[in-house]
Symmetry: C2
Amino acid sequence: MNDNLRIVIIEDDEVLRLGYQQLLFDIDGFSIVNTYASFDLAKSQLKADAPQVILLDINMPGTSGIEAIPEIKKTLPNCYVIILTVFDSPEVVFEALNMGADGYLTKNSSSEKIVEAVKDVCGGGGVMSINIARIVMSSFQKNLNSPLTKRETEILKRIAAGQTKIQIAEDLFIDENTVRSHVKNIYIKLDVNSKSEAIKAAKNNRFI
Amino acid sequence: MNDNLRIVIIEDDEVLRLGYQQLLFDIDGFSIVNTYASFDLAKSQLKADAPQVILLDINMPGTSGIEAIPEIKKTLPNCYVIILTVFDSPEVVFEALNMGADGYLTKNSSSEKIVEAVKDVCGGGGVMSINIARIVMSSFQKNLNSPLTKRETEILKRIAAGQTKIQIAEDLFIDENTVRSHVKNIYIKLDVNSKSEAIKAAKNNRFI
DNA sequence: GCTAAAATCACCCTTTTGGGGTGATAAATC
DNA sequence: GATTTATCACCCCAAAAGGGTGATTTTAGC
């Protein structure tokens, strides 16, 4: 028994799995307690392994990495999960972050970056590689070419927040008819004819 | 005239301004075309300076860095803006990213990180330092102690997307009454009695 | 295997909201 | 000076929301 950082690797590609293992094995203070080819294989062992950090692939046979995250967190509430994957579509990244991943690295990350990430994450930090940061950031960037005016955008935001026209009118100190009028214009501009379509269109195009 | 990367620094603290200038001045391929103590001072010169990258402080006398971003983007649509600041509240980060910032670094970033960031951002990417990533990521973390069941969460998500109960029922292949029933339970659990309150409560607590 | 929670569906009821149509006016912006 | 934006008024009706009550069937936890 020592004070080494207990690490588990879950990755279906054997070459990568061995590669990561070797990489981290050489690091002072790290202990690779186990490696698995899938979460389904790891599942029953995790409690005994008691890792402090898990390196997790997304794309695996059986339970996906995304689905695995909440299960891991349930079993080991204090374990940090770092996603290591080639896939980096915005949806997957957000799903992973939503599920509680503590870090997100792409597989082209350098050895030093991975080691650094493991250390950082235990310091209570989040880590993400540059292309992931790019994805996250671009998702925040509003579309600057929105056809909607400021007022229309404001109103659509509130509609998306579930407010009724009356509530919106009260909040903005304008008449309900004014809101109604704005909504009509929004629908025309977005070429839709219902609330849900408008919200969808606006979110897809980052108008709100 | 050479092919160097044209950089402008806008930072009110003289020591930091000179520090950054010196740091980047020594880098091969970088040209510091100008430095300013505020955006208001820089404003009229920017077009002539024609920088490809601007290092921008948030907290400045006069126009804030946040307000400056859209103005910069308007004047120089192809110029990358990297925020360099000590302040890193989530609101400020989101505001900056929303305004179109291409990068966000905190001032404790190492020299190498800053240089790396300037290079990376010109590769079309976003850059953010680790503590910013942390903030961004934590804002994505769902509350794992949600009182809502999976189904309820699914339905509340769809309500927040503006779907009606009927649409939700169709999408989930269940009866409208079932949706209604779930909604009632959601309202009870969240202690609300309307759609907008439910969405608000759920978003505040990151249940969805 | 038992029990509690979750998910499913069926009715009742009334009020609110949504969306379509038409038109007008002041203010801001270009 | 013309266009856009923001404001408000009135018509209509179908759709949706929300409240109440109760029941059945899976699922999941112990």
